[in-house]
């Protein structure tokens, strides 16, 4: 009997343990929600002498993603934050880049959101309407250590939302970085070919660009096969520049109508496809779609290739000299490209809003943090004055870093997909595009065929947005 009683207990313990560990699995990322209530004293008082801010006791989780260089830089920044704010402990969770979005969405659905986390600006509306994000406005304005005005205004505006329109109203996050997607060229190749270097202030016209690209496409070693090409672009990341500089867009200014059936849009898409099919200035059709052009660029076989700030640490080791130029301009005569960003936001369910907001500000706007990150060559500094100094430093490649800042300040635009409740309509355009790139159908036919399909998805996205606003 005694043994049996013991067995009962054991069985119960085992089953209870099974249940508890199972439930705990989903909740692991959010241990602080179980923390005792008495530790929520989060009065902010700045102790003037040591430069340390007392945020009381808090345990935060911070979920992010990034390459090894970036992780090191962020871990250092977080350590510094902990030193400056005794009592605040930050648990860092980093995930692989391609799994991040899924993990975050799963955490949100499971109602165990980390206190501080990266999010895509395209999700801002959904997350703000869904009550996932904390409104940071008052914390940002009251923070004595970091001045929001020093951070790129265009970057902060990406995370403002007034309940109807993105870009104005309250702050629901801060930019981790801004990613101006610039155009680079192989300077060494130009010099060898005896072609005049492109002007860093005056963009090529489309004709000029094609002309130079044709001159660069050749067989250097005389084996009858091409071993050098003018360019090799990826439609997903490079079509925007052509479309915008030709005066067209994916969506109208009210964000309610898909406008890809504009003839100017078709012209830009045709120009893109013709690079491969008509003018043959890129490696063959199939090859241009893989990473190959990236590899070829790094081996010095490609004349023009896009460059983002995140490429700088890798391109440092290139066996040739490269620099940045504005994108070739279409009928508007203006260069255009996209300006990416990733945001850092705070969960509305956090127990320590003040500490979480302070961490967010520290990661995005502190001098120490930004220095660590820009030294790692993974991004441009978030602080305007620091960025100016950084761009003026001619000792590091590329020399014309100023181009990045011009994109941020002047001609960079957000990717159209992030302007709407979801990006399904925008993604469909690229899902179906292969036949155009292969020259099987014309751009004009494609955009005509695709517009209604995209419009249908956009209508659905708008409907979902309206529903989420009424909640």
């Amino acid at each position: 009997m005694k043994t049996k009683g013991w067995m009962t207990a054991l069985t119960l313990v085992v089953s209870a343990g099974l249940v508890l560990t199972g439930c705990g699995g989903g909740n692991k990322d959010n241990e602080e929600t179980k923390a005792p209530a008495e530790s929520t004293s989060t009065s902010t008082t700045t102790t003037g002498d040591a430069g340390k801010t007392d945020l009381g006791k808090a345990e935060l989780t911070f979920m992010f993603r990034g390459g090894p260089d970036e992780q090191t830089a962020y871990n250092k920044t977080v350590d510094q934050f902990e030193k400056d704010h005794p009592g605040v402990k930050v648990k860092v969770i980093s995930t692989a880049a391609d799994q991040y979005a899924t993990k975050l969405k799963a955490a949100i659905t499971g109602k165990s959101v980390p206190d501080v986390f990266y999010y895509d600006p395209g999700d801002l509306m959904a997350y703000a309407n869904g009550g996932v994000l904390l409104n940071l406005t008052q914390y940002v304005e009251n923070n004595k250590d970091i001045d929001i005005n020093k951070i790129w205004q265009k970057g902060v505006d990406l995370y403002r939302y007034d309940g109807a329109t993105v870009g104005q109203g309250d702050i629901y996050g801060l930019p981790k970085d801004l990613g101006p997607f610039s155009m680079g060229y192989n300077k060494t190749m130009f010099e060898k070919a005896g072609i005049a270097l492109p002007d860093k202030d005056k963009p090529y016209t489309w004709d000029e660009f094609m002309n130079v690209a044709q001159q660069l496409t050749k067989d250097n070693n005389g084996d009858g096969k091409l071993d050098q090409w003018g360019t090799g672009l990826n439609v997903t990341w490079n079509l925007q520049s052509l479309v915008w500089s030709n005066g067209a867009d994916w969506i109208d200014p009210t964000h309610t109508k898909v406008t890809v059936d504009d003839p100017k849009f078709a012209e830009a898409l045709q120009y893109f496809a013709d690079m491969q099919n008509k003018y043959h200035v890129t490696p063959s059709i199939a090859e241009a779609q893989t990473l190959d052009t990236y590899q070829r660029w790094m081996q010095g076989q490609i004349g023009f290739f896009p460059v983002g700030p995140w490429d700088m640490s890798t391109y440092e080791k290139l066996p040739f000299d490269y620099d940045l130029i504005p994108y070739p301009a279409g009928s508007t005569g203006q260069s255009a490209t996209w300006l990416g960003s990733l945001g850092i936001g705070v969960s509305s369910k956090t127990k320590y809003p003040e500490a979480a907001a302070a961490l967010t500000m520290y990661l995005t706007g502190s001098e120490e943090g930004m220095k660590l990150l820009s030294d790692a060559k993974v991004q441009i500094p978030n602080l305007t004055d620091m960025a100016t100094t950084w761009a003026a430093d001619a000792s590091s490649k590329p020399a014309n870093k100023e181009e990045f800042l011009q994109i941020v300040n002047e001609y960079g635009r957000p990717i159209p997909g992030i302007l709407t409740y979801n990006a399904e309509w925008y993604n469909l355009f690229f899902t179906d595009i292969q036949p155009v790139l292969d020259g099987k159908i014309t751009a004009a036919d494609y955009v005509k065929e695709e517009q209604p399909k995209m419009q249908k998805l956009l209508d659905k996205a708008i409907e979902s947005m309206n529903k989420s606003m009424n909640k």
Partner: protein, 295 residues
């Protein structure tokens, strides 16, 4: 009588207590999510906020969703690899069963893909299929064949992924067959040989019926697994392939639920997929039973 029933009740009590942990596990981690997603499929849930009941709207929309049909066709297409894998595995098992030297080494070689991480394998094959410097095309080049850009061409992407899946599952099926072959009594073959049956008849009338339970098991599990294929698709063609030509149903579900905030709609798709698997498996069990009676 009363004592006996008391003992019986006591036994039952202990019995229930022992099965409690797995039953609880099933209820909490399998049944509850299933019921929840069936309920979710009747709502406009976006995964963030509240769920509003919208009746059959999701299902109605699903019937007109071109991409869903495409994903379904892709999924079925990739299942064509199952019989091929089965045949190869049986042939390998027959070969290894002959006791040729190095059997253990071969067994290990074929089993390595099975225990390797699917994600790692997908990344490896992704490189192998690269149109320019990939191992597959380099190999074809030796014979003067110019290989396609496997994962970027809508006509080759599905066979390419299928091939990888066959390669990955081969060792497991082979091992099952090997075990089944070794348990076939030798005297059957001896008797057949005495009666003058040739090698093919022995294979057809002894080996094949004897390993049939394994075949049945592998087909059922492979169809269930094949309906849920996701990881390799997601890693090798992160946008669902050119013109969505490699997207599986689960890939489309994932895209809808986690990419486009349509948890309700995605739930409706999983319900349809679940029903599909259920019906197919049911039919298979029926077929298996009827064939047993006939023999």
């Amino acid at each position: 009588m009363t004592t006996k029933s008391k003992l019986y009740r006591k036994e039952a009590y202990w019995g229930y207590l022992f099965i409690l942990p797995p039953v609880l596990g099933l209820l909490i981690f399998a049944l509850f999510p299933v019921i929840y997603s069936v309920y979710g499929s009747f709502t406009d849930w976006d995964g963030l906020g509240q769920m509003n009941f919208i009746g059959l709207d999701n299902y109605k929309e699903l019937f007109h969703d071109e991409l869903f049909y495409k994903a379904m066709r892709n999924t079925l297409y990739m299942m064509l690899g199952i019989p091929l894998g089965l045949l190869l595995a049986l042939m390998l098992a027959l070969g290894l069963n002959r006791g040729i030297p190095g059997t253990t080494a071969f067994r290990v070689v074929y089993y390595v893909p099975v225990i390797s991480s699917l994600a790692a394998i997908s990344i490896m094959w992704n490189l192998a299929y690269n149109g320019d410097f990939g191992l597959v095309n380099q190999f074809l080049d030796l014979f003067g064949i110019k290989g396609p850009n496997w994962l970027m061409d809508k006509s080759t992407v599905k066979p390419a992924i299928m091939l990888m899946m066959i390669w990955k599952g081969l060792g497991y099926t082979m091992l099952l067959y090997l075990a089944a072959l070794q348990s076939v009594p030798k005297d059957y073959y001896e008797a057949a040989e005495l009666d003058g049956a040739n090698a093919f008849s022995r294979l057809r009338h002894i080996t094949w019926p004897m390993v049939k339970p394994v075949t049945f098991f592998v087909v059922v599990t492979n169809i269930i697994g094949g309906s849920q294929v996701f990881t390799e698709i997601n890693i090798m063609t992160s946008t669902g392939g050119p013109e969505f030509s490699s997207a599986s149903v689960v890939f489309y579900v994932w895209q809808k639920a986690f990419g486009n905030l349509q948890m309700g709609y995605a739930s409706a798709m999983t319900v349809i997929l679940g029903l599909f698997i259920f019906i197919v498996t049911l039919v298979q069990f029926k077929l298996d039973r009827s064939s047993e009676i006939n023999e």
